[in-house]
């Protein structure tokens, strides 16, 4: 319990420090494009329930759907490539040739193929995350020494048991790290995709406020998008804490 309150306190201190910097800069510059935090927070409380909540819900849904799809396809693929050498030899070239393509550059094509609606946005996030998941899971399993399987092999364990007792726990830490790294990119990409072909989502909200020269609402949107990212990181950390007990220090 002491550890948790200690962590909270250190995060609070950092947040206060960052706010102070923001405030100082705003007072120093005296520009309408850099308002002081107090005005932004007041505006945020006014528009949050009325407006932002709906946009935030859309953004969260897109991230969740893209992430879910990436895990459903990327994790099994990574396991197959990591455990079966033959499959890896066959699939690795495909993964390595497509991995370096900047996925965001494919957005115009995706929008033409999948429409400008939800599907193209979710597919974009899926494409960003799936490669990281595949490569991380494959490497985690491939670096396992052969001896790790011996106690199970010598007991005549089935493939399902080998997955449950060795492959799944061995791949979890790197899998979670991959999700964490990909999540930051996914939020940025989400913002970008939401500036096209939609009237919902945090990306749309922020750009719309900007076009209306409503800087206070724009800042409120940026703040909410940032908190959303923080929340996602928090969820991933909690999941890691529960799922990877043996790694706790």
């Amino acid at each position: 319990m002491k550890g948790i309150s200690h962590t909270l306190l250190s995060y609070l201190t950092a947040a206060v420090f960052l706010l102070a910097i923001w405030w100082g800069l705003a007072l120093l510059l005296e520009l309408p494009i850099v308002p002081t935090p107090d005005k932004v927070f007041v505006r945020l409380t006014n528009v949050f329930a009325r407006d932002i909540l709906e946009h935030a819900a859309y953004s969260l849904w897109r991230i969740a759907a893209g992430l879910g799809l990436a895990v459903c396809i990327g994790y099994p693929l990574g396991v197959i490539m990591g455990y079966f050498r033959q499959a890896d030899r066959f699939l690795s070239p495909f993964v390595y040739l497509t991995y370096p393509i900047p996925k965001i550059a494919l957005l115009p094509i995706l929008m033409l193929l999948a429409g400008v609606g939800e599907l193209s946005k979710i597919l974009m996030i899926f494409l960003i995350i799936v490669f990281q998941v595949v490569v991380a899971v494959r490497d985690a399993i491939r670096t396992l020494p052969e001896e790790r399987y011996y106690p199970l092999y010598s007991l005549g364990a089935s493939l399902g048991q080998i997955f449950r007792f060795v492959i799944l726990p061995a791949s979890l830490p790197k899998f979670i790290t991959a999700i964490r790294v990909a999540m930051a990119t996914a939020v940025s990409v989400l913002f970008f995709t939401e500036t096209f072909g939609t009237q919902y989502g945090m990306g749309y909200y922020i750009m719309d406020a900007w076009l209306r020269v409503n800087y206070l609402e724009m800042y409120a949107g940026i703040l909410v998008l940032s908190v959303m990212g923080l929340l996602l990181f928090g969820i991933i950390d909690c999941f890691e804490h529960v799922a990877c007990r043996w790694q706790r220090k």
Binding site: E147, R148, Y150, P151, L152, Y153, S154, L155, G156, A157, Q161, F165, V166, P169, A170, C244, R245, W246
Partner: protein, 271 residues
Amino acid sequence: MKWHMNPTDMIAFDHLTVRYRSAECAAAAAIADVSLTVPQGTVCAIIGPSGCGKSTLLRAVAGLVRPEGGCVKIAGGKADPKKYRIGFMPQNYGLLPWQTVRENIVLGCRIRHDWHAGREEDEARLARLMAALHIEGLATRYPHELSGGQQQRVSLARSFLLQPDILLMDEPFSALDAITREEMQDVFLALWQEQHVTTLLVTHYVEEALYLGQKIALMAADPGRIARVFDNSLGGCPEKRGSREFFEMSRALREEIRGISAQHAGEGAAS
């Protein structure tokens, strides 16, 4: 050539040859034409210089390597880890780092589908075994939080909870300090006296082979082969450990192993 098996033999190597395929050296046989039998309910110690294929012998029984020639039989049938209960203790104890001590001990039985968490007799058996091994307080710990000796005890608990048909131990006590090693040998003997499980024990300590093995197989290297097999009347008798006979025997055995190694080195220099 027909080869006969005694009905009381639990493990039998029948002209076994194993070759490892690797990128650099494709041909060298790890073990060649090894024949050896282990009678039911005895401990057979395999001793020899490093690199003579001792571990390969165990892996062949556990179905971890595919023999190139010959075969391994368990109780007269083909060695099959799905058919027989094989307790395998590798050199690094084989504990899964993501499982607690309790989960690690129960793993063997869970894989064989005969562990029922909460069932009184199962829990009692586990508790008794953990108490006998003095690890009852460690149930919720993870392997990396344990000392080498404690990990060894957990590994022993897993093997004996399984009540295996055969037990394979690959230099199980070699990573421990001298005092802990002798202590663990006594712990093993005490557990073994209860179940009398047929055991194949690989070691490079002469005293360990003499102390635990009722049968001792001496191996030579390049290719790995059996040099001599003999029955050891000192095996499994704690009271004889300090005796003059034990001391003489270990000296003679050490001489013999040195002779095998020297012969091997001579051959290596000549070729």
